[in-house]
């Protein structure tokens, strides 16, 4: 009897061990890495020098950039086979401020399956479902609020600078993007709003995610492109402010399509 019990225990142990080995073979551990984005700002191929009147746009405006603040959201990596992964486990909206170092690098918390991704996409700004007033109550994001009467939510971007205007004076420009308005009679009667966020899809070079490693990419905003292709944006024509000028914001949206590219660090 005693020997029988021992025999049964040995058999059960062997079965358990075999079963454990088999399970290990069937479901290997997930192989994941991370993605980190460094946000950089260029003008004519080199890093932007802030507060320097060193730049001339296609309209011939001599200009400087003082600061850039903007949101990107819904960053997604795409594989050649059509599958994709949305990086949203911590926050799907990221704020970048050229005056705040901490915002210029962001490592997503998402575990990204290893592999080769051939493109990255994101929304420039915030889509209308998410762009709700008071969702950011803390600074600096809260400073980006877009007034309720102009559509609410948040600026997608503030790009502030100055240009030398037609009479040779340094004139400030606030190249601000957000929800546009359709005016029945300007400025008192608004008959509708225009969502000006737009999608950006970049396919420069393969983004390789390796198990347990962080892949670093540099997302480059080419500032000069905001003012060219397909529209030549002229500060002398549009003036210093555009939050209430949908036609100007539409030009910015159209021009925004080729503002970004990326490189692998």
């Amino acid at each position: 009897m005693r020997y029988s019990i021992i025999t049964v225990l040995i058999i059960l142990s062997v079965i358990f061990m075999i079963s454990s080995c088999c399970e290990g073979n069937i479901e290997p551990e997930a192989q994941n890495g991370k993605l980190s984005i460094e946000f950089v700002h260029y003008n004519n191929g080199t890093e932007l020098i802030f507060d320097s009147l060193a730049y001339t746009n296609e309209a011939g405006n001599n200009y400087l950039v003082n600061e850039i603040q903007y949101f990107i959201s819904d960053v997604t990596l795409h594989k050649p086979n059509g599958s994709s992964i949305l990086l949203n486990s911590w926050s799907d909206i990221h704020y970048i401020d050229t005056d705040i170092k901490e915002t210029k690098t962001h490592t997503y918390r998402d575990e990204v399956p290893e592999g080769v991704y051939n493109s990255i996409s994101f929304t420039f700004g915030i889509d209308e479902d998410k762009n709700q007033s008071l969702m950011f109550v803390n600074a600096p994001e809260s400073f980006m609020f877009w007034p309720e009467n102009l559509g609410g939510g948040y600026h997608y971007m503030k790009l502030n600078g100055k240009w030398i205007n037609e009479i040779g004076l340094q004139a400030p420009f606030n190249f601000h993007l957000g929800i546009g308005q359709i005016y029945h009679s300007f400025p008192d009667s608004i008959s509708g709003f225009v969502q000006n966020y737009f999608g950006v899809n970049l396919e420069n070079e393969p983004i390789i995610i390796k198990n347990t490693e962080t892949t670093n990419i540099k997302l480059i905003m080419n500032v000069e492109n905001w003012f060219s292709t397909p529209h030549i944006y002229d500060h002398n024509y549009w003036g210093g402010d555009i939050m209430q000028k949908q036609d100007a914001m539409q030009q910015a949206v159209d021009n925004g399509n080729d503002v970004f590219n990326y490189t692998i660090n």
């Binding site: 507060d51 008071l134 600074a139 007034p147 309720e148 009467n149 003036g239 210093g240």
Partner: protein
């Protein structure tokens, strides 16, 4: 016999020791004070880890804030406290009708005028971007003694143009005043007064000075409606084609009504103030830049601008409307400079003023919890 005696002594000693343990007072644990975040306000607060808010700390801070002996002196002519310049009825600013400082230009015990006019003490628990017109006290300051409200208290006490005090003399004075040591013990666990504890207590009290119940707050919460003129003013306030105040002074999405950031707003063409933002940041674009003040209760906070050059809000609105000065350092957000200002009509000025007046919070201005105590601990 000797053995019995030894055992008895041991037993008695043990009993005495036991009694001693029982009579040792347990350290006083002050009561945590929780700030209720008002609707739309930031959830992130500027409260240092080493100075959490407590009911007892705030109570002590309130006494010290109002006690003229904070100058370290007892002669009636030499009394001065925080409240001498920061008056509740003026949103904790001096105010243009200050009984002692003509025109609202404060001076210290020594008679020296302050370099700039006072800033209001309002909603500072949300200020994370520096104190003072230039932001000379800031979180990452290499000088560890120049970082937060606690440091502001000490600097004000020491400054020749303010309390002109001596920290040793002050702590010794309060140590000798009946009632204070007990309050210090309740709040910070010891009757021994240090100046660092004085700083902490006053800073705690200042962090509780919260204004969030103006007419505009009630409008935000759907409790009250604005008049048509106030609504017109609100639209002007929050549109670029209007007065475009909101980029620096907030609004519905930023109910602090300031960014707490620094701007050259076009007041001057020559910049010689050694205490502007440039003096701190060394950024050339910060010449002539100063902190944007909160517009809450602003109608009570004259004189206006860092140097108090304007006496009334009407003058301020006229300045922004027609009198902006061009310079290489003007902040890009001042895009109306190209027209010399926002060019408001008289009616628009009235509307804008009426809206700004909705930011007055009478509950804050009369809140007993912020007022001078009915009597001091030794009274």
């Amino acid at each position: 016999m000797k053995v019995y005696r030894a055992i008895s002594i041991l037993v008695i000693a043990l009993l005495l020791t036991g009694c001693e343990d029982k009579t040792t007072p347990t350290p006083h644990i002050p009561t945590p004070y929780i700030i209720d975040i008002p609707f739309g306000f930031p959830t992130e607060l500027n409260i240092p880890i080493d100075n959490p808010l407590t009911v007892e700390g705030i109570e002590l801070g309130r006494y010290l804030f109002y006690d003229g002996r904070l100058s370290g002196r007892t002669h009636p002519d030499s009394l001065m406290s925080c409240a001498t310049c920061h008056r509740q009825e003026k949103s904790f600013e001096a105010g243009i009708d200050h009984p002692k400082f003509p025109g609202g230009f404060p001076f210290g015990i020594s008679g020296l005028h302050t370099h700039h006019v006072t800033l209001p003490m309002i909603n500072l628990v949300w200020n994370k971007t520096g104190y003072g017109w230039s932001g000379f006290l800031y979180k990452d300051n290499p000088n560890e003694n120049m970082r937060n409200l606690e440091d502001m208290v000490r600097l004000a006490v020491l400054a020749k143009d303010e309390l002109d005090g001596d920290t040793t003399q002050i702590k010794e004075l309060f140590q000798s005043i009946d009632g204070y040591p007990l309050l210090f013990e309740k709040a910070f666990g010891s009757k021994e007064i240090t100046f660092q504890i004085i700083e902490k207590a006053i800073a705690q009290f200042i962090r509780t000075l919260i204004s969030s119940n103006s007419k505009f707050d009630k409008y935000m919460r759907g409790e009250e409606q604005l008049t048509q003129s106030e609504l017109n003013g609100f639209v002007l306030f929050t549109t670029e084609e209007g007065a475009d105040c909101f980029h620096c002074h907030g609004g519905y999405g930023n109910p602090l009504f300031t960014t707490h950031l620094y701007y050259n707003n076009g007041k001057d063409t020559i910049f010689i103030d050694p205490m502007d933002r440039f003096s701190i940041s060394n950024d050339p674009m910060d010449h002539g830049a100063y902190k944007a003040t909160s517009l809450r209760n602003i109608e009570l906070q004259g004189p206006y601008m860092h140097d108090g050059r304007y006496s009334t809000l009407e003058e301020v609105i006229d300045f922004y409307s027609h009198d902006l000065k061009q310079s290489p350092y003007i902040n890009p957000l001042m895009h109306h400079i190209i027209n010399g200002g926002i060019q408001l009509t008289p009616n628009e000025k009235t509307d804008l003023l009426n809206f700004i007046r909705t930011l007055r919070d009478d509950e804050f201005l009369t809140n007993n919890e912020f007022s001078k105590p009915l009597k001091f601990p030794d009274e």
